[in-house]
C-alpha cells in the first residue's frame, strides 16, 4: 500500500521509493530492500504497476515504476481497509484507556 501511495505522486525508481517513504514518514519507516524489490516485482506481476527504463535527472539509467489504473483501484480499496482497521484499533485502545482511569 505504501509503495502504491508513493507512486501516486508520480513514476519513481526503487531507490526513490525507499527515500520517499523514509522522508515522508519523518525517518520513522525504513523499507528494507529485501522487502522493497520483491514487493515491486510482485506488484508488476499483478499488473498494479508497470516499469520502464528511463534516465534520472542526473543522467543515470534507472527502472521507473508507474502505477496503473487497476493499481489505483487496489490502492483505494487498501486505503479504505486500512482506515477501518485504524479506527477499529483506535476504538479498542481508547476504550482501554477510559477503563484504565481511576
Amino acid at each position: 500500500m505504501l509503495i502504491l501511495q508513493t507512486l501516486q505522486w508520480g513514476p519513481q525508481h526503487g531507490y526513490g521509493i525507499s527515500q520517499a517513504i523514509r522522508v515522508r514518514s519523518g525517518e520513522v519507516l525504513q523499507v528494507e530492500t529485501g522487502s522493497l524489490y520483491p514487493a515491486l516485482h510482485r506488484l508488476e506481476r499483478q499488473a498494479w504497476v508497470r516499469s520502464e527504463w528511463k534516465l534520472t535527472e542526473s543522467n543515470q539509467r534507472a527502472k521507473y515504476y508507474r502505477i496503473t489504473a487497476t493499481g489505483k483501484k487496489q490502492l483505494a480499496s487498501d486505503h479504505g481497509r486500512w482506515q477501518q482497521m485504524v479506527e477499529a484499533i483506535g476504538a479498542i485502545m481508547s476504550g482501554e484507556l477510559e477503563r484504565g482511569e481511576p
Partner: protein, 245 residues
C-alpha cells in the same frame, strides 16, 4: 532458446536495477558531503545482502523451482561425471532392467494380449459339457473330447451361436520322400474355417460339404508359417503336400 534468453535478460535487468539503486544512494551521500569510499560502504550496508535480495525478488517471478531444478540437475551430472565407474554400473543396471522388462512384456503381449487371428475373437466361446452324468468321451485332458454322436447332435441342435466347430489335435507324418518328420496339426470339422472367419490365401479351405463319411478329399490346410518354413513358399508345394499327407 528464446525463453532462456528471456530468463537471462530479466536477471540482467534486476542486476542493473540494483546497481542503479546503489549508484544513486552513493551519489546522494557524496552530495551530502561523505567521501566516495565512505558513501559506497554506507550505501552497501544500507542496502544489505545483494544476492539475497536478488534471490527473494526472483522468487516472486515464480520460476524459482525451474532454476533450482536446473541447479540440481547440473550438480547431479557433475557428480556422475566424477565417478564414472558408479555411473556406468548404474546405467548398465537400468539398461538391463528395462531390457528384461521389455523382453518379458513382448513375450506376454504375443502370447496373451494379442487377439487371435480370426474374424471376431471377442465372439468366440468354448462349449463344455456341464452334466457329467450323461457325458460320453474323454474328459481327462484340458480340452474334453466328446464322442462323434454327441458332436453331431451339438452341430445339428445348438442355440445361441452363429456357428459351431470341433477340433482335436494330432501329429501328422510329413513325408517328403526320404526325411519323414512330424508336423503338429488339427483334425477339424467342416465348418471350422467358416465359423472362425478364416479365408485361404491360395486354394480353398474345408467347407461343410467336405464333412461327410468318405468325402474322398485327402486335402490339408497349412498355415502361412508352415508353408514358408517347410515348402519355401513354393506354389508347386500344394500338390505335393496334399498327396503327402
Amino acid at each position: 532458446m528464446s525463453w532462456w534468453r528471456f530468463f537471462a535478460r530479466r536477471k540482467r535487468d534486476l542486476h542493473e536495477e540494483i546497481e542503479a539503486h546503489l549508484r544513486m544512494a552513493v551519489r546522494d551521500r557524496v552530495e551530502r558531503g561523505e567521501t566516495p569510499g565512505e558513501a559506497r560502504a554506507a550505501a552497501a550496508k544500507e542496502f544489505g545482502n545483494v544476492p539475497l535480495v536478488k534471490d527473494v525478488t526472483r522468487e516472486t517471478w515464480g520460476w524459482q523451482w525451474l532454476e533450482s531444478g536446473a541447479q540440481d540437475l547440473k550438480y547431479a551430472l557433475r557428480r556422475l561425471l566424477k565417478s564414472p565407474g558408479f555411473t556406468i554400473a548404474a546405467i548398465a543396471t537400468l539398461a538391463l532392467g528395462i531390457g528384461a522388462n521389455t523382453a518379458i512384456f513382448e513375450l506376454l503381449d504375443a502370447v496373451l494380449l494379442q487377439s487371435l487371428p480370426v474374424a471376431n475373437p471377442q465372439e468366440l466361446a468354448e462349449v463344455r459339457v456341464v452334466d457329467m452324468d450323461k457325458a460320453r468321451g474323454n474328459y481327462s485332458s484340458a480340452y474334453p473330447a466328446v464322442t462323434n454322436p454327441i458332436w453331431e447332435k451339438l452341430r445339428e441342435d445348438h442355440q445361441g451361436f452363429s456357428g459351431i466347430a470341433a477340433w482335436t489335435d494330432t501329429v501328422f507324418s510329413r513325408d517328403s520322400g526320404g526325411d519323414a518328420r512330424f508336423a503338429n496339426g488339427l483334425w477339424v470339422s467342416g465348418d471350422f474355417f467358416r465359423v472362425l472367419g478364416v479365408r485361404p490365401i491360395q486354394g480353398r479351405v474345408f467347407t461343410a460339404e467336405d464333412d461327410r463319411r468318405g468325402c474322398g478329399s485327402p486335402g490339408a490346410v497349412i498355415s502361412y508359417g508352415f508353408w514358408q518354413q517347410e515348402y519355401a513358399s513354393s506354389l508347386f508345394a500344394f500338390a505335393k503336400a496334399t498327396s503327402g499327407l
